[in-house]
Symmetry: C2
Subunit: 316 residues, 2 copies
């Protein structure tokens, strides 16, 4: 009987479940839309979906070994709880307890953590034991692999790489602190920086790119116009790379990753972004003289990273 | 036969060796002054001292299990080399290879790393498995214990907690980057901040404290005058606590330590400092809502931390 591991990609609007084998292949995949406003509905939707996938897996002759969760929020990996999740009302969810009737081992981690695990086991960083991943989306998420193992910090509450101070007394961050990396290097921050530059320079080609409508500015605007040579777009991109690069130098000095994986929406810029970051780090000796090279790579697993990574919490 | 572990506290001016038992007690201790300008002398002085202590240990009936080194610089813990050490000319020292004739297991780590290990095994953080230590001296050193084990980063080159960015494009740091925590939270930085405040405020009581001679300013000046109520000294201390506190919040968000140990010269301020830091972190939820408390404590082992910690690299 082939062993499978269920991976749950938890979102406030939908829940995705996959049955993943030891090679990281998704053999079954199902999803349910849910109501993030109501915890009871959210939980019962999740449980029904899990029961459905478990039934299907058994019918196909798979042996279900356990369930892993990737949660966009703060968990407690010891107690198996969700302690805070932005899109769900009600702060505390005792997930492992709620699902105890399924009689399966349950592991819970943060969504960026499981994405890092997925990329290290089956994606861009396969074959490397010391890896960090940054997801550049609405926020900046972080995941860390040390000596081949997921590093989550005490109670699974660490590795919040987006929430290190980049600018003392800087912009207010969603977490409550000021000046966090997330406030300068998230996709949302890039939008803000793009719009500020455009407002200051009405002659920028970025205006053309978004039909003179600043509401059409996206994460692409600065990057695409920089590629075409617009001076102001290049300034936005260079500044963004510098903010992000300084954050990465922090993580080089702390972790000395062999590989840095960039995920999230901004990672669609591919090698155009990773080459710029690589060059930024290289010029600064990866933070320290005699430091080994850290290779900057783009995430490979994209939308499936959540399911595969969550399942990977249980894959040996 | 009682087992002992040799701990070597490496400095550019002197080398200290201790034979430490499994309880962290130093049974033999010896030291040699050395010439940091000459690598050959440095190495032969070290080897002679080690041979002397090994002989003495054997005469006393101890079984020597191995040698651990705490080095004020950058090491490679896999190869057993010193890759860079500020006070020694010549960048690269293949230490394990040089001492191979001693026929003992050799482990090498950074001085702040071994201090963290010492405090966690036998000092202020005894009984805790998730600990960070910051040494506040000429520089800012960092050591990290995760799940009861020393975390050194890939090749033993990580955990450089003094070299995370606190102020983007800020003051030049000794490491080559700009705006590192070390440039704002080291004892050297405190001196600079104290002098700047005094120059701006000739009516500060800090002038009296140092006999109107700015060259007599020390790490004590601001702290002692703050305790007596000098407004400007309080500003210096509050600013220093804020810089340091923001760095600690970074490490809370990354590691979620149960205990934060403060060592180095500035730690002589004891609870006056640790209480201020505790309060700073508490008011900010240790970086994140739902984060567990991190207790700020002062290092206990003082000058012996280097020897005990280096020996601890081999103690199970």
């Amino acid at each position: 009987m082939e062993k499978v591991y269920l991976g749950v990609d938890v979102g406030g609007m939908s829940i995705k479940v996959g049955a993943v084998n030891e090679n990281g292949e998704i053999l079954i995949k199902d999803t349910v839309k849910t109501d993030g406003e109501n915890v009871d509905n959210f939980l019962s939707d999740m449980k029904k979906l899990l029961e459905k996938v478990i039934k299907e897996a058994k019918e196909k002759g798979y042996e279900v070994e356990g369930i892993g969760f990737g949660v966009p929020g703060v968990v407690n990996n010891k107690e198996g709880t969700i302690d805070k999740m932005a899109n769900i009302k009600g702060k505390y969810i005792p997930l492992r307890e709620y699902l105890s009737s399924l009689n399966l081992p349950i592991r819970i981690s943060n969504d960026a953590n499981v994405a890092a695990l997925a990329e290290q086991k089956f994606g861009a960083a396969k074959g490397y034991n010391n890896v960090i991943l940054l997801t550049l989306g609405t926020g900046v998420g972080g995941g860390v692999i040390v000596d081949g193992k997921l590093f989550e910090g005490y109670l699974g509450k660490g590795a919040e790489l987006g929430h290190v101070c980049l600018i003392y007394n800087g912009l207010k961050c969603g977490c409550g602190r000021n000046g966090c990396l997330e406030a300068y290097a998230s996709a949302s921050a890039l939008l803000r920086e793009t719009k500020e530059k455009m407002e200051a320079h009405k002659d920028s080609a970025m205006w053309d790119y978004c039909d003179n409508d600043i509401n059409k500015v996206s994460g692409l605007t600065s990057f695409e116009c920089a590629k075409k040579g617009d001076k102001y777009a290049i300034e936005v991109v260079d500044q963004y790379v510098s903010y992000l690069g300084e954050g990465l130098l922090d993580f080089c000095n702390i972790f000395r990753p062999e590989v840095i994986v960039i995920g999230g929406g901004i990672s669609n810029q591919g090698e155009y972004l990773s080459n710029k970051l690589q060059s930024y780090l290289e010029k600064r000796n990866y933070g320290y003289e005699t430091a080994p090279r850290s290779e900057v790579l783009i995430a490979k697993l994209k939308n499936d990273a959540g399911i595969i990574g969550a399942a990977s919490l249980l894959i040996k």
